[in-house]
Amino acid sequence: MGEDIVSEIMREYLQQLAAKGTRVDGRKLDEYRQIEIKKNVISSAEGSAQVSIGNTSVLVGVKVELGEPFPDTPNVGVLTTNAELIPLASPTFEAGPPNEEGIELARVVDRGLREGRVIDLEKLCVAPGEKVWIIFVDIHVLDYDGNLFDAAYLASLAALTCTRVPASAQGMGEDFPLPLNGLPIECTVVKIKNAMMVDPALDEEKIADVRLTMAIDENGNIRAVQKGLAGSFSVEEVRKVISMCQVCSSKLREILKSS
């Protein structure tokens, strides 16, 4: 029995469940799998966090180093986000430079952090045009069971909230916490046939028609959006996704704050 037939059977089964408002692991459509956030897990990093959403697990390490600013923003620190879909995490990941999945992941996380103005980069200038703090957010996927975007984003945010700028090692006074502005949260919704559900597990992700990720800030405003996969939404469905993301982002923000 070929893989395609299996996935066809799985597709129908999940569609039927979704139509009834439920899911293969018993969750409701607007329910996340269990979330665990561990901060400061890597002492060689200036900030770090390991986040699991169900069986999906992502480790993010933040390194902070001195470097040159971009010529067009001489007074502003630099944020660099990189994702490695290392083959340890999934039989489908391959060694080598980031492919388009890894690049999209890094860019969607980066967009949420950047557009949500999470880091106050203006405060990271040391000598205008010459030296600024560079923040490297490195996303290391450890176990891939769906919804990498939310897990990677949440881990990045958690790591940033416990990051300290290593000023003392440079003879520049005491270390200080990374200056942060706000905590926009990214939530991902997929559509399976006509049902919309948050936090897709791998099986759901595989057969989803279309995906929408939104970064929502504390005021319920939208900071970033990314539609993915080869499907479509109606305007009405987009409105529905916004509502779902607004509700879930509040919950996730509380989990992050209490972690």
């Binding site: 395609d4 067009d72 923003t73 502003v76 980031p98 388009e100 690049i103 999209e104 890094a106 860019r107 967009r111 950047r114 557009e115 103005r117 980069l121 203006e122 929408l212 800030d217 005021n219 319920g220 405003n221 939208i222 900071r223 970033a224 959006v225 990314q226 539609k227 993915g228 996969l229 080869a230 499907g231 479509s232 939404f233 109606s234 305007v235 987009v238 409105r239 916004i242 607004q246």
Partner: protein, 259 residues
Amino acid sequence: MSGIGMENKPKLVDENGRRIDGRKLDELRPIRIEAGVLKRADGSAYVEWGENKVLAAVYGPREAKPKHIQNPARAIVQCRYNMAPFSVSERKRPGPDRRSVEISKITGEVFENVLFLEMFPRASVDIFIEVLQANAGTRCAGITAASVALADAGIPMADLVPACAAGKIDGQIALDLKKEEDNYGEADLPVAIIPRTKEIVLLQMDGNMSQSEFETALNMAIDACMKIYELQKEALKNKYKGEQEVEREEVQTPKQEQR
């Protein structure tokens, strides 16, 4: 979008609701579409959109290579969005950067919605988008051009796909941001739709919008897409007319005297 480097921000909307180039808030830049501009490609189109100049070519359906990327059930869509080194003010190094890889990915996903891929198992439909001159909005111009190129190639398609962005500048929702508006504005929301069904097939956003602003912008973009749809159809009609005229001429003049 990220609010950095705003000290030099110009006024983007004047007291009369006019923008830096004199446009009204819901006004598109001038758009010119030409179909069938290349000889070697199976289909092609050229789009001038404000100061953007974008060329799209389509090859296929043709055998997907290497073999291991073939799908025995359907054709795959491969898209390459590329910026010419001289298309931006500071020379871009040749080859794909992370932004190009992401845009290539989501552009390919857009066209999976309208192509009858099951008709061509093991094949590939290859879409090449070359940005020759860039001034904000190149991904929408690229999708608009690629749609026309696909039609020009005679590839079976459910509908053309027009694309357009709306955004927020000086606190107001505005259509089709140009470069300065994008740099100093508050949000940008590129959208592509299937006109017949109004399905949304591209949706991205970065910046800061309330839910109601988002919905206003989304609808404004969709309305603009419908106008661009007319321009796309016009371009294809002109191509067809042109061909008939050439055919008529060809009957009258032997080939070698045409030059």
